[in-house]
């Protein structure tokens, strides 16, 4: 076992142990914090597919996070109001079933990622960053100006979505759902990185000419990665909305995109559990330093600066050493 694998297991073990301990000593707030960390980590794992493996610096991942969130919000608001979602061509009700909400969130964000990716992947570098940012802002202002679903005030949901066989109102059970999805997605990301597709995607990041020379299209590889990435972040958005029972245009804001980017960079770009380490640290700092108001971001900024300057592999790189060549 490599040092990185041991570190990853310890990290995931700690993320699991904290809420279990919190439940034992009856601290439900800690459970919620751990759930928040797991969900934000999931959003980061999504971005890491595009950024770490594909080399695509997206400053628009809030789009998918927000679309996932609004998928949940819109479906649940119709369900709680007993109003149909659609009346034509067929009458469709809202739903509070998690699997259906997830499916919708993943589909909607995947479609959006396909559209946005198809346009923005025609550019590279700083232009790509700016275009993804522009798309994010478009969705942000659209959400603000769409009164049917709360506009600027957002949308409060009074029910928690249900999962067959589980009591999702129990914080530890909801944590379990988020944590299980995180583990499944991490397993998927690990498989992806080692697969023939991952091999080609990683090669396209290092040299576009290389993959073109063997007859592959970097554009198609990167578009596929971007769609997968958007789908995962969209799933995280749906869970995040469910956790807060509230969605607002903030989920679409560029600050949200920036935060997801921070999780990945803080934890370690292209490292499997990098986003987990980053999100856990982010949530911990937010909690510990949050008492001083918004100024806690200064502390975060200093840490981010240190990581970028002195630990290029992020936290994982610092604690577990250089990435191994996997074979």
């Amino acid at each position: 076992m490599t040092r990185e694998t041991i570190f990853n297991l310890l990290l995931l073990g700690a993320l699991l142990a904290v809420p279990l301990y919190a439940r034992a000593v009856d601290e439900p707030y800690l459970v919620t914090l751990a759930t928040r960390a797991a969900i934000l980590a999931l959003a980061g794992v999504g971005l890491n597919v595009a950024l770490g493996q594909g080399g695509l610096v997206s400053l628009g991942h809030a789009t998918f996070f927000g679309l996932g969130g609004y998928s949940m919000g819109v479906l649940a608001s119709h369900a709680q109001g007993y109003t149909p979602l659609l009346t034509w061509p067929i009458e469709l009700p809202g739903t509070t079933s998690m699997p259906i909400v997830w499916l919708v969130a993943v589909t909607v964000s995947g479609l959006a990622a396909w559209l946005i990716g198809a346009l923005s992947l025609r550019t590279t570098g700083v232009y790509f960053i700016m275009i993804t940012l522009a798309f994010g802002q478009m969705f942000y202002y659209f959400a603000i100006s769409w009164p049917a679903y709360g506009g600027e005030d957002g949308l409060s949901i009074y029910v928690r979505n249900g999962f067959p066989g589980l009591n999702t109102l129990d914080p530890i059970q909801f944590f379990g759902i988020a944590f299980a999805l995180l583990l499944l997605t991490l397993a998927f990301a690990a498989l992806l990185a080692r697969s023939p597709f991952g091999l080609a995607l990683n090669a396209a990041r290092q040299s576009r000419a290389r993959v073109q020379t063997v007859g592959l299209s970097p554009y198609r590889l990167q578009l596929t990665a971007f769609v997968v990435s958007g789908m995962i972040t969209g799933l995280a958005g749906a869970l995040f909305a469910d956790l807060n029972r509230f969605v607002s245009p903030t989920m679409f804001s560029w600050q949200t995109s920036g935060e997801i980017l921070v999780f990945v960079i803080l934890g370690g770009v292209a490292r499997l559990c990098g986003p987990v380490a980053g999100a856990v640290l982010f949530v911990a700092l937010e909690h510990l330093l949050g008492g001083i108001g918004d100024y806690w971001h200064i502390g975060l900024g200093v840490i981010l600066l240190m990581v970028v300057l002195f630990a290029r592999g992020g936290l994982i790189g610092l604690l577990a050493g250089r990435a191994s060549v996997h074979d």
């Binding site: 992806l192 091999l199 080609a200 090669a203 993959v211 592959l216």
Partner: protein, 257 residues
């Protein structure tokens, strides 16, 4: 004469005031090594880029196996069987040597690349990749990181990746550069045998290699082909001696006696 495998017809390319390719027509026939030589700045790289599809010509056509490929991009031409090696290595430097050849081996199978299953798992694809590595003599470095290879070894790896594509023609841009005497001798012997598998359009500065290998040589000066012929014809050509061989005879070591 039979149909050429690869040919250009009246290719022209201009960058501002610089006419980099002037009405270039050349053919690569089955079983031959056709060397393209010329002084620095003659337009060799520009021509290569137009042949492989990295650059679109202003005028003229590129034909590959009887098909007009002028409008196709690099990936499409590679899928048709046009393999290229680079002057400055374009490899996935963070990956292992084996991963680089595996990329070619997977791409050569066509279709979709799987999301599951390790790329390095044993099977046909890995066998093909390892066979290509063995052919260029890099089998013992399969697990090394590509960035750790010497320049010469990177060249060999590029050739190995090209081999995995089972190409119909090779376009090689200075494969001997940085190889050293013994490495360049080994590669010369290898290319000599390779021509029966697929013809090679060879851009090379190493005149010993060119004279040893080439069935025909085209000399490019100022964006124009001033002569095409066998080694002997090119050695005797007064225009070539004046424009090219004469001025570089000292360093090339290939000056005819």
């Amino acid at each position: 004469m039979t149909e050429p495998v690869l040919s250009t017809l009246g290719v022209c390319k201009r960058f501002g005031a610089l006419q980099a390719s002037r009405d270039i027509s050349l053919e690569l026939y089955r079983g031959e090594i056709h060397a393209l030589i010329g002084p620095n700045g003659a337009g060799k790289s520009t021509l290569i880029q137009q042949i492989v599809g990295a650059l679109a010509p202003d005028a003229g056509r590129v034909l590959f196996e009887g098909r007009d490929v002028t409008a196709l991009d690099t990936s499409a031409r590679a899928r048709l069987g046009l393999a290229r090696t680079f002057q400055v290595s374009a490899l996935a430097m963070e990956d292992t040597v084996l991963q680089n050849v595996l990329l070619g081996a997977f791409a050569a199978r066509g279709g979709r690349l799987g999301f599951f299953g390790a790329a390095v798992r044993r099977g046909e694809v890995r066998d093909a990749a390892e066979a290509a590595l063995a052919r260029v003599g890099l089998q013992d470095l399969a697990r090394a990181r590509t960035a750790e290879l010497s320049h010469g070894q990177r060249r060999q790896l590029e050739v190995a990746v090209a081999l995995t594509l089972q190409p119909r023609a090779f376009v090689m841009d200075e494969p001997m550069a940085g190889l050293g005497t013994s490495g360049s001798r080994t590669l010369t012997g290898f290319l000599d045998r390779l021509r029966d598998e697929a013809p090679i359009l060879l851009v090379e500065h190493d005149m010993d290699a060119v004279f040893a290998l080439a069935d025909r040589i085209s000399v490019l000066v100022d964006g124009r082909i001033i002569a095409t012929g066998t080694v002997e014809e090119i050695r005797r050509d007064a225009g070539v001696r004046r424009a090219y061989l004469g001025e570089t005879a000292g360093e090339s070591g290939g000056e005819p006696a």
